[in-house]
Amino acid sequence: MEKFLLKNIENPASASLEVYLKVGGYESLNKALQMEPADIIAEVKAAGLRGRGGAGFPTGMKWDFASRDVKFPKYLICNADEGEPGTFKDRPILEKNPHLLIEGMVISAHALKSEMGYIYLRGEYPYAKIVLEKAIEEAYATGYLGDNIAGKGVGFHLSVHQGAGAYICGEETALIDSIEGRRGQPRIKPPFPVNVGAWGMPTIVNNVETLANIPLIVSIGAEKYAAIGNPECPGPKLFSVSCCVERPGVYELPMGTTLREIIYDHAGGVRGGRELKAVIPGGISTPVLTPDGIDCPMDFVNLPKRGSMLGSGAVMVFDDTVCLVKVCWRAMRFFEHESCGKCTPCREGTGWMRDILERIEGGFGREGDIELLQDIALSITGKTFCPLGDGAAGVVLGFIKNFSDEFMYHITNKKCMVNKDSQSAG
């Protein structure tokens, strides 16, 4: 497939405006500026684009809600918090193709009649900050940002807001709190951000990759776009592939490409030709799959049928040398560390589960621990304020469901099934 999102990134100067313009950059914007805002929204709707941040919410529908609210100013926020472990797909856009994102944002802003935008960039990407700020400067200098964009009377201002190390700020309402200078904790919904968001005003939050798809839709039209990949959730998709594969990296492939194709055709297969043991398909918050699930198409429709989720499309491949109890423990340590602390089950439950997993992994598991873990996870599921807690519970449930023998082995033999001589959790 021809690359669009990652087009030209092999060029060392791909981030510069000059290079971007050479490969047809900002042509979609010029086209979009001739269009009525409502028509752009209709086009995005017809294209069937679904949000790439994890939830897969239809972008056109979100925009439609936002455009129906008549309060102004409206804020357009790009979610570049990319915190889901295993995920690094937005990074090449941010670091190597920033003008694509800016172009996507300006088009979106025009469609949404937003005059002020922020890129909420995770604190862990300091280099991306430099690149983005430079690109924004270039865009201002050439009139792609400012009060009168491309001389068409459309105004949009954009700046980078740097996060500071909090996974939960990827959740859109926590992100808004964070931009407002608060502790980034999720807000009560409704009202939804499209009506009451940043500073009480209608706010549209979209993922980097989602916004980067907008120029493509404008340029080739909804119909052609909808023909890419799975028609139920079409378009190009970035997959971050990591852990035990030969060629880890970001791959731009049509939505619906199967896991098998991704792992074996693109990422070079399991490293050293070892045996595939497990795959997490969508980032650490999505339930793990066993090898018999790898023929599943990677999209928002098919993965749920297999008991997992597309999430951010972060494929984590584990071979037979990996201790999954340890992976599960490490994942839980992450959730405990990142729980915002607002709601009881997540704040208290993640730490408790981490305690138990740490014990099991370290060879101090007790009889009944597996049942207890399951029970705690079920006590969290569906009762937390935001999906982070559900994710944490789902991970434990997924690992236990698919690999309970490995947990049992740890408990009964007080050691690891994979690395039989190692006992410590480090």
Binding site: I188, S339, G341, K342, T344, P345, E348, W352, K383
Partner: protein, 867 residues
């Protein structure tokens, strides 16, 4: 109309409310923890989960709004299991030190676990440990017990708007902390104590001595500290107050109290409380019996009256005493002794200001509901910090700000600092020019309504300062324009007037200007009141020129009406004001003074002069609860009952009449007596025939005599909703013309080399009372000279070092406290601590037009004391 079904019950709702609220209306109580009525919803604890048909997940009822047709279940097995698991999670890190925890018995967590379980937790790992924090004198913080409901933080930020605590850290490492991590350094309102559902934030006042089941009785009463009049409940054990708490259901203060109200009560248990009458024998105060004391007073008063006439006798009433006490004193002096010489420290500013404003705009012009401030879209504050003088009123101003209202303060904004739109800091004594300029700008291009012709006529001749005139004020014409335009743009505005702007040479002009601003922008006026019953003092006729009900003494029609009702006569011309009495005492015209619950020797400037004047008297009687400075030089001292020891009523600054109820017996029950009773006793010796058995009898007479209180019985007052005029006669209208000083000129503002000594009106103290409260002393233990960093640098005086302040009136040496909010050219000192009252170094005169006290000769030399 929204119809929902909750647990099979149909509920009809006028407006959409939360499911929790709807259930409550149907009589179904859903358990909650992070929810607290009045606080912004949070939805974090997850205890209030309910099942809603058609929604896949359980929902938090505290955040979910009802929608038509919704079907809700609140107690299914699934829900019970969910609640049990939430509680199990909460208990993970909870220390389970219930036997040792003061909260036991009124702990939400304990009650919830008792109801839902778990009977035993399965958590077998290490619990979070966090040492208890004793950094604060009156609050103890135990973060091990915290359940992170954030009620305290929301209280502190959203309602108290003090922003002193915050959740710090994240996830399971979250803690509720003040900035310092230790000491709160906050306003110590203690409202966080009210909302903490567990024992995480508690009072230290009754640590390990209090258990809820120790409470023998609860007395609903009104706070005795300031003119807001917050409702509170005194929890009693044996004869002691073990806690003062607010109750959301009672009173307009809706569950909020300030530091004085909540923690200051224990002054009444002070060792220093008087227990027996004292009489001066051979120059010394000796204990005597009541009979001896009363007989002596009656005899001496008679002798003086016979020799010099009733007008040689005067009385000082008290803003800390009840309406009944004050009424009785007034009746005694006016109708029994035959003198209109009765006044109170309300003369300092409150009474003359109110009287003057009423003469311009009609009676009741300052009678406005405090709760209304929150709904206003703009507030102008002049003359003092409402959040210190009348804290709960101050909160209403912050609430107005929260909902978008603009707050403009002239002068140091104090506790409103965070809330003012911009700074307007005039140089000392230049406010009059600033206010004139604001009025000038408001008048520009505005047609006058013609409603109040007297005011408008005066406005036409008002001298509007030019830009040059403004120079001395330190405020630019642009700032004036901005402030005026903001004021003009307000739709429902409020003008709050504090003492400092009234205690000025040309008080009438300042008040006129403030009144004019209110008139021009259609604002409601509030007059801050330092004492719980200044208004009652006035209403009861403790004024030289007004009878009970605010009727002028010199108008025959009114006087006769009251004389007829009582069957007694009052003198027909006005009596002496507080200051005139002091002058007369100095010159020998006044022979006897009866002081009830007031301490003029400390609370009026120029203490040395006041002391000399009172020393001239042939008879000085002081009736009080402590041996005050004034009592110390009296001929007879009578021990009275303190605020929680008596029954009666207070009238707050919005004219709400509220019940003060007896909670404890006085120190020695057979000695301390109610003020009104003592006076009635003396009056009887003069042949007053009317007998009063209970305090209700006094009130009944007030109802009968005062036009404002007609038809207002104790039963009507009981719920705190009675605001006068209750029924009966209408308020007085305007009295025709009034005069204003210096309408056509501007004051001469002079630069002073030496700083002005101003009175610090501290949130943590209240006159001389609070110096007996251990809790308040623990926050503000000793007198400080507050100076700003500029001056401190100039004088080389660091925080905590000693300064000497002096002028022709005296010398004080005391510690310095740095405070960057003290305006340039000023130093502040409270008027609280024995021997260190600011009034001692301040001179005064009285304004010719309104007769209020104005402060003068108050510059001081400040030096570093070298050790």
């Amino acid at each position: 109309m929204i119809k929902v079904t909750i647990d099979g019950r149909d509920v009809e709702l006028e407006n959409p409310v939360t499911v929790l609220e709807a259930a409550k209306q149907a009589g179904i109580i859903i358990p909650t923890l992070c929810y607290f009525e009045g606080l912004t919803p949070f939805g974090g604890c997850r205890l209030c989960l309910v099942e809603v048909e058609k929604l896949p997940k359980l929902q938090t009822s505290c955040t979910l709004m009802t929608a038509d047709g919704m079907v809700v279940r609140t107690e299914t097995d699934q829900i019970k299991a969910a609640r049990r698991s939430v509680l199990e999670f909460l208990l993970i890190n909870h220390p389970l030190d219930c036997p040792f925890c003061d909260k036991a018995g009124e702990c939400d967590l304990q009650d919830l676990v008792a109801r839902y379980g778990p009977e035993a937790g399965r958590f077998a790992e290490g619990k979070r440990r966090h040492p208890e924090s004793f950094d604060d004198p009156i609050i103890v913080r135990n973060m091990e017990r915290c359940v992170l409901c954030t009620r305290c933080v929301r209280m502190c930020n959203d309602l108290q708007a003090s922003y002193s605590i915050s959740v710090t850290g994240r996830g399971s490492h979250s803690f509720v902390e003040p900035f310092s991590g230790g000491k709160y350094n906050c306003e110590y309102c203690g409202n966080c104590l009210t909302v903490c559902p567990v024992g995480a934030i508690m009072s230290r006042l009754h640590r390990h001595t209090y258990r809820p089941w120790f409470v023998e009785k609860e007395i609903e009463t009104v706070c005795g500290f300031c003119g807001v009049g917050c409702s509170m409940v005194l929890q009693m054990r044996e004869n002691s107050i073990i806690r003062a708490i607010p109750r959301a259901e009672v009173g307009f203060n809706k569950g909020l109290l300030c530091v004085r109200g909540r923690f200051g009560y224990e002054y009444v248990e002070s060792e220093a409380q008087l227990t027996t009458p004292l009489m001066r024998v051979d120059g010394e105060l000796k204990q005597v019996s009541w009979e001896e004391a009363i007989t002596f007073i009656a005899r001496r008063l008679k002798e003086i009256k016979d020799a010099f006439g009733g007008r040689a006798i005067g009385a000082i009433a008290s803003g800390r005493c009840t309406n009944e006490d004050n009424y009785m004193l007034q009746k005694f002096i006016r109708f029994v002794i035959g003198s209109n010489n009765i006044d109170s420290s309300a003369r300092n500013y409150y009474a003359p200001a109110e009287t003057y404003l009423e003469s311009i705009f009609g009676q009741g012009i300052t009678a406005n509901l405090i709760s209304g401030i929150a709904n206003s879209d703009g507030v102008l504050v002049v003359g003092g910090d409402p959040t210190a003088i009348n804290p709960i009123l101050g909160l209403q101003i912050r609430a107005s700000w929260r909902s978008g209202g603009k707050v403009i303060a002239l002068g140091a904004p104090g506790g409103l600092k965070r809330f003012v739109a911009y700074e307007l800091m005039p140089t000392p004594y230049s406010e009059e020019i600033v206010l004139s300029a604001i009025v000038g700008r408001l008048l520009k291009g505005k047609a006058l309504s013609g409603e109040n012709t007297a005011v408008e006529a005066k406005l036409r001749s008002l001298r509007i300062p030019s830009d040059e005139d403004m120079e001395v004020t330190g405020i630019s014409p642009e700032d004036i324009a901005r402030a005026s335009d903001d004021l003009a743009g307000m739709a429902t505005s409020v003008v709050v007037i504090g003492p400092d702007i009234i205690q000025r040479e040309r008080a009438s002009k300042n008040l006129f200007l403030l009144g004019a601003i209110a008139y021009l922008i259609n604002a409601r006026i509030f007059l801050l009141s330092e004492r719980p019953n200044y208004q009652g003092v006035m209403d009861m006729g403790c004024l030289p020129d007004f009878l009970p009900g605010g009727r002028p003494v010199e108008l025959e029609m009114f006087r006769h009406k009251i004389e007829d009702a009582l069957g007694m006569k009052a003198p027909e011309d006005r009596g002496l004001t507080l200051f005139e009495m002091i002058n007369e005492a100095e010159t020998g015209g006044l022979k006897a003074l009866y002081v009830m619950g007031e301490n003029p020797l400390f609370n009026i400037p120029d203490s040395a002069r006041v002391k000399k004047a009172l020393g001239n008297l042939e008879l000085l009687v002081v009736q009080d609860i402590h041996l005050t400075e004034t009592a110390g030089i009296a001929d007879v001292v009578l021990p009275a009952t303190a605020w929680p020891e008596k029954e009666g009523t207070f009238t707050n600054l919005e004219r709400r009449v509220q019940r003060v109820r007896k909670a404890r017996r006085g120190k020695l029950a057979s000695y301390g007596r109610d003020d009104w009773k003592i006076i009635a006793d003396i009056a009887e010796r003069f042949g007053m025939t009317r007998k009063y058995h209970r305090v209700e009898d006094v009130w009944e007479e007030i109802m009968h005599v005062s036009a404002l209180h007609a038809g207002l019985g104790y039963e009507d007052i009981a719920d705190g909703k009675a605001v006068w005029p209750y029924s009966g006669e209408p308020l007085r209208g305007m009295e025709g013309d009034f005069s204003v000083e210096g309408l056509e000129d501007l004051p001469h503002v002079q630069d002073s080399e030496k700083p002005y000594l101003m009175i610090e009106r501290s949130l943590y103290h209240s006159g001389t009372f609070s110096r007996r409260s251990k809790a308040l002393l623990s926050i503000y233990p000793e007198p400080y000279l507050m100076i700003n960093p500029v001056l401190s640098e100039r004088l080389g005086l660091a925080e905590g070092e000693k300064a000497r302040i002096s002028n022709e009136r005296g010398v004080l040496e005391l510690k310095v406290k740095l405070n960057k909010d003290v305006p340039d050219g000023q130093v502040l000192l409270s008027n609280t601590f024995e021997g260190f009252g600011a009034m001692g170094l301040i001179g005064f005169s009285t304004g010719p037009v309104i007769g209020s006290l104005y402060i003068r000769d108050n510059t001081v030399r400040v030096e570093k004391v070298l050790v």
